[in-house]
């Protein structure tokens, strides 16, 4: 007889035995699995929901991409139209539509109020795809048509409200008067512009000339959309376009890049929320591990019996692994179902925030990812207890006390678990858009787990080592922290991880909020004034400086241009570093000055040019961008400014504080190069909130073409978006907290039998209920305080790393968040501890003592 031959038992037997244990067991024996299931449902639902909602938005974006872009291809040029030759070539290639966008002021005809608007002048072909929706259903062409020498204009509701005018009234834009002919309720290509600083206004291309706003250098943007003839590949067309106009200053986009800003934003937000969701799953994993351990401890006699009857250890492992996996599948399936349905729930909530409709549907990829995360987490946290259960000796039936349960894993088991942990880590990193952030998260999570394990071990050892206090309650409390089966490790891990996530998110949010508030209150100007014509600069300066209450005024010339080569290498041959790709992407604002900027940046390398410099063009470059592109002082950078090539040498590098919301430029030219180019000036003005309206009115009445941007309004918009992000982050973080509380309450409840027995024995020996309750409260206060202290430190560290390392924002320690979370932590442990103690104390002594 060969013994080994019999060890390969059919998997059918595994399944049969596992099913027998599961059968009818869900009601009673698997009661401990309520927390197991809840943790898995919460964690996978959070990840699946984030992924599904993100995919729904992505699907909406790509389904509407042509409409969002406004055609098959779009070309954008700053400040000037395409040449007649270019226009003709484009018009011969397909259906062409030309639109001009700029910021301007719209005002009441009585001069009482003026507001910044986002102006869009459209031709008859607009929109090539999709439709513009006006309230009442009037066609756009009809609304914009000129009647009796008066141009029509349509505007978003917000402008009508702000100016207190209605359809049929007249408004001024630049030098022209318009009749409001409609309220704009739907703009097909609205996602393609960046930050909107005012309500949208549309007028006809012909009417724009009447406003006299298109002065040389005005901050305008020309967009050419093309509908290609059927059968034309956009790639082929792009190639022909490049060959025909190799040096044209436009930026070309096709539907895959219809809303690049939004796509990037959604990707980053998705990753951030997925990581928070993963934290929830990991915290839930502790609950999964606890439930599996408790279940297997209860099954020890059965396992030993099976072994007595000849079951090999591998079979035992498979029987229980099968059960755990089946139960996990239940929880994961429920989580996936919730996640899959989440786009339906989120769609109405996000409708106002998104420029595109979400395509609610089932997205297999994020669901599969959430399922894999769920399965891996289950395995990582339950394999340890399962492997220990596999090694329960048959002799356990006879000799429990002398041969205690094996407590250490075999080296091979550790390797298997380690491999699964690595798989989880690798999956997290590989599926993330920003691998660096994901790697930091994985490292942070592992470090936090390790740290809290060490803390739990330390607390246990310290409690055991501590000289016995004379006070019996404190003695009992200390004993409860280190006795075998004490929930110390689970409580420290679950509560600690949960609080860490909460502290980190709260502190990041407070820091960003505080930084924005500080900038707005102390540093940021109240106004940006744009489109100041060269002949207006002196009068504008005089007006603003003489205005009562006006503080610092800065006025700089500005023109736009793009970088075409760096150190002799064409930009098209440079792979831009991800965080600085914007430097070479399209036109950038450029300026020139004789003296270094007074605020917002400082020179870190090189020398500033003399005030009377009049040599070959020099430039001052952003130090971080220079580092990212590998540029150094003395390197040449080539620019295309309004169609002309300029080669300039880097003279110095500046470190720029972008967060100061002042006027900052990546590139500043030396005097001599750009003075002759058509340019406008922009200005910042600091002034008290109470004088803002008056200053705006004064500037507007004297200079109708100058647009005023209120920083406060922009910041309010940014804050509104930040607020929405914050709600999303808090919602997912709440899942992590709930998972933590579930695990915490489960861990405390697991020791209930022991506590009831302790309480009964103590009461029998003459302890009052107050004595026992005090002991429990001391125990949980100690545990809560220690955990909260460590978690607050870990959370602050994580918040510091994210704020300074990833967001490049100055760090301020906010003790308020820390104190608040500490209180919550201690409160939570006390609350659940008190519930446990209360139940224990409610029991009468006699039945328990008889049974024992």
């Amino acid at each position: 007889m060969t013994l080994a031959a019999g060890t390969r038992l059919p998997y059918l037997l595994t399944w049969r035995l596992a099913r027998r244990e599961l059968r009818g067991g869900l009601r009673s024996r698997f009661r401990g699995f309520r927390i197991f299931l809840s943790c898995l449902v919460l964690g996978t639902a959070a990840i699946a929901a984030v992924g599904s909602i993100s995919s729904s938005i992505g699907a909406g974006l790509s389904a509407d991409a042509r409409v969002l872009l406004g055609g098959d291809l779009e070309l954008r040029i700053h400040h000037r139209p395409a040449t007649p030759e270019q226009r003709e070539w484009l018009a011969s290639s397909g259906r062409l539509s030309e639109i001009v966008g700029l910021r301007a002021m719209a005002g009441r005809t009585d001069g009482k109020d003026r507001r910044l608007i986002e102006l869009k002048a459209v031709d008859d072909a607009y929109p090539l795809v999709g439709t513009v929706a006006l309230r009442g259903g009037r066609p756009l062409a009809d609304a914009l048509a000129s009647r009796d020498g008066e141009h029509g204009l349509v505007a978003a509701e917000a402008l009508l409200k702000r100016l207190d005018v209605s359809v049929g009234d007249r408004v001024t834009v630049g030098d022209a008067v318009f009749r409001i002919t409609g309220v704009l309720i739907g703009e097909p290509d609205r996602a393609t512009r960046g930050i909107q600083l005012g309500p949208r206004v549309m007028l006809s291309r012909a009417a724009l000339d009447a406003t006299q706003l298109l002065k040389p250098g005005a901050l305008s943007e020309y967009a050419y959309r093309i509908l290609l003839p059927p059968g034309t590949e956009s790639g082929d067309f792009r190639d022909r376009l490049t060959r025909a106009f190799p040096d044209a200053p436009w930026r070309v986009r096709d539907p895959t890049e219809a809303a690049p800003g939004l796509t990037r934003f959604i990707e980053r937000l998705t990753l951030f929320l997925t990581l928070v969701g993963l934290s929830a799953l990991l915290i839930g994993g502790i609950g999964v591990g606890n439930a599996v351990r408790a279940f297997l401890t209860q099954r020890r006699p059965t396992i030993a019996t099976l072994k007595c009857l000849g079951a090999p250890s591998g079979l035992v492992l498979r029987i229980y692994l099968t059960q755990i996996v089946l139960l996990a599948a239940l929880g994961i399936a429920a989580g996936l179902a919730l996640g899959a349905l989440s786009p339906l729930a989120a769609a109405p909530l996000l409708a106002d925030l998104l420029p595109v409709g979400m395509r609610a549907g089932i997205y297999p990829q994020p669901l599969a990812l959430a399922a894999i995360f769920g399965v891996l987490t289950t395995l990582v946290f339950s394999l340890g207890p399962l492997m220990l259960a596999r090694d329960v000796p048959a002799a356990a039936l006879f000799r429990q006390a002398v041969a205690p349960a094996r407590r250490r894993l075999r080296a091979r088991d550790v390797a298997v678990t380690g491999t699964l942990v690595m798989a989880l880590a690798v999956l997290t990193v590989l599926t993330a858009g920003d691998r660096l952030l994901a790697t930091w998260f994985v490292g942070g999570a592992m470090a936090a787990f390790a740290a809290f394990r060490v803390v739990a071990f330390g607390v246990t050892r310290l409690a055991a080592w501590w000289p016995h206090p004379r006070h019996p309650q404190i003695r009992l409390a200390l004993a409860n922290l280190h006795r075998p089966g004490a929930p110390t490790t689970s409580v420290v891990l679950s509560l600690g991880m949960g609080i860490t996530v909460l502290v980190a998110i709260t502190m990041i949010e407070r820091n960003l909020g505080a930084r924005i508030a500080e900038i707005v209150e102390e540093q940021a100007p109240a106004f940006f004034f744009i489109d100041i014509q060269p002949q207006q600069t002196a009068d504008f300066d005089a007006l603003v400086r003489s205005f009562p209450g006006a503080g610092a005024v800065r006025q700089v010339p500005m023109l736009r241009g793009r970088i075409t080569a760096m150190a002799g290498v064409s930009v098209s041959d440079i792979q831009p570093p991800p965080h600085h790709a914007w430097v070479t992407r399209g036109d950038r604002g450029l300026t020139w000055t004789r003296t270094p900027p007074e605020s917002g940046s400082r020179i870190v390398e090189g020398e500033w040019w003399p005030a009377d410099y009049d040599g070959p063009p020099l430039i001052s470059f952003d130090a971080e961008a220079a580092k990212a592109f590998g540029l150094a002082i003395g390197d040449e950078v080539t620019f295309n400014i309004l169609g002309r090539q300029f080669v300039a040498t880097i003279a110095n590098l500046r470190r720029i504080d972008w967060a100061s919301l002042g006027m900052n430029f990546v590139v500043i030219f030396s005097p001599g190069a750009l003075e002759k180019a058509p340019q406008i000036s922009i200005a910042t003005v600091q002034i008290g909130r109470e004088s803002e309206d008056a200053l705006e009115a004064a500037v507007n009445s004297q200079f109708p073409n100058i647009s005023a941007i209120r920083v406060r309004d922009v910041v309010a918009d940014v804050n509104r978006i930040m607020g929405s992000i914050d709600i999303a982050a808090k919602a997912i973080a709440a899942v992590a907290i709930v998972a933590g509380i579930l695990v915490l309450s489960g861990a405390i409840a697991a020791g209930r039998r022991q506590r009831i027995y302790d309480a009964v024995v103590l009461k029998t020996l003459g302890a009052t209920r107050r004595n026992v309750l005090t002991a429990y409260l001391v125990e949980f206060t100690l545990l809560g305080l220690v955990t909260a202290a460590i978690a607050a430190a870990a959370g602050s560290l994580a918040a510091w790393a994210v704020t300074t390392g990833l967001m490049h924002v100055d760090w301020t320690f906010t003790p308020g968040a820390m104190i608040w979370t500490t209180l919550v932590s201690v409160g939570a442990t006390l609350f659940f501890g008190a519930i446990g103690a209360w139940r224990a104390l409610g029991r009468t002594a006699s039945p328990l003592l008889r049974n024992e």
């Binding site: 007889m1 019999g6 009818g24 007595c308 000849g310 079951a311 048959a394 002799a395």
Partner: protein, 242 residues
């Protein structure tokens, strides 16, 4: 029903052969010598009672014979197999093929019906007709009508009958019984013992029975007395079959 080819060895070779057997366990209070040099042979079909005071080493000796515990020194040969070098899984296979065990606390698997409990060892051994054999065995112990009941729905006596059926269903060459009536009242215990002896005689199974009960011990043809980890008495008597 199995291993027919080895039948001719039964008359010649002992089913259990312990030689210079020692067992030392480590505990928090230091090493404890449980068994101190046991030399015993038990022949095929023998019915042996193992008696002695609590802590004398009865259970330990039985566990070593059943492959549930490893000897610290000496040799253990059971059913012709040397257990000393076997791995955990080889020992499990050895039990499955050679040994039936009956416990004081029955140790039925609470999630399985009586029929499934009895069928489990056959299933481990890969028998296609495990459930038919198990049903027949349950009928033999008088529980043919309770096959679908769970242990929690059976009385103590019934549970021990199921345990007996489970121990005998594989037709083991050796049955180990540790105080099989310890948790039962006198009448029920008597019935169980009758059943156990009947089955062991009918199947020719060697029986090793731990007991504190002198009356029960006297039903076995041979009585081994153990004290302080050593065999201090080995009595063979004539037993009148009941």
């Amino acid at each position: 029903m199995h291993e027919q080819s080895t039948t001719h060895f039964r008359d010649k070779l002992p089913i259990v052969a312990l030689s210079a057997l020692e067992l030392t366990l480590s505990s928090t209070a230091g090493a404890v010598e449980i068994l101190r040099g046991i030399d015993v042979e038990i022949g095929p079909g023998e019915q042996v009672a193992l008696v002695g005071a609590s802590g004398a080493g009865k259970s330990s000796m039985m566990m070593i014979i059943g492959g549930l515990e490893r000897a610290s020194a000496g040799s253990v040969v059971v059913a012709g197999l040397d257990l000393t070098g076997m791995s955990e899984d080889e020992l499990a296979l050895f039990r499955r093929n050679n040994v039936g065990i009956v416990f004081q606390s029955f140790h039925l698997i609470p999630t399985m019906t009586a029929l499934e409990n009895v069928a489990v060892p056959l299933e481990f051994a890969g028998h296609a007709d495990a459930f038919a054999l198990a049903a027949a065995e349950l009928a033999a112990v008088g529980l043919g009508h309770r096959t679908g009941h769970y242990p929690g729905q059976l009385s103590g006596g019934e549970q021990q009958r199921v345990a007996l059926a489970r121990a005998f269903v594989t037709e083991p060459r050796l049955l180990l019984a540790d105080e099989p009536t310890g948790n039962l009242d006198g009448d029920t215990g008597g019935q169980i013992i009758d059943l156990m002896f009947r089955l062991s005689e009918r199947k020719g199974t060697t029986l090793l029975l731990i007991t504190h009960d002198p009356a029960l011990a006297s039903r076995c043809a041979r009585e081994l007395r153990i004290a302080d980890g050593r065999i201090v008495g080995d009595v063979t008597r004539l037993v009148t079959p009941r």
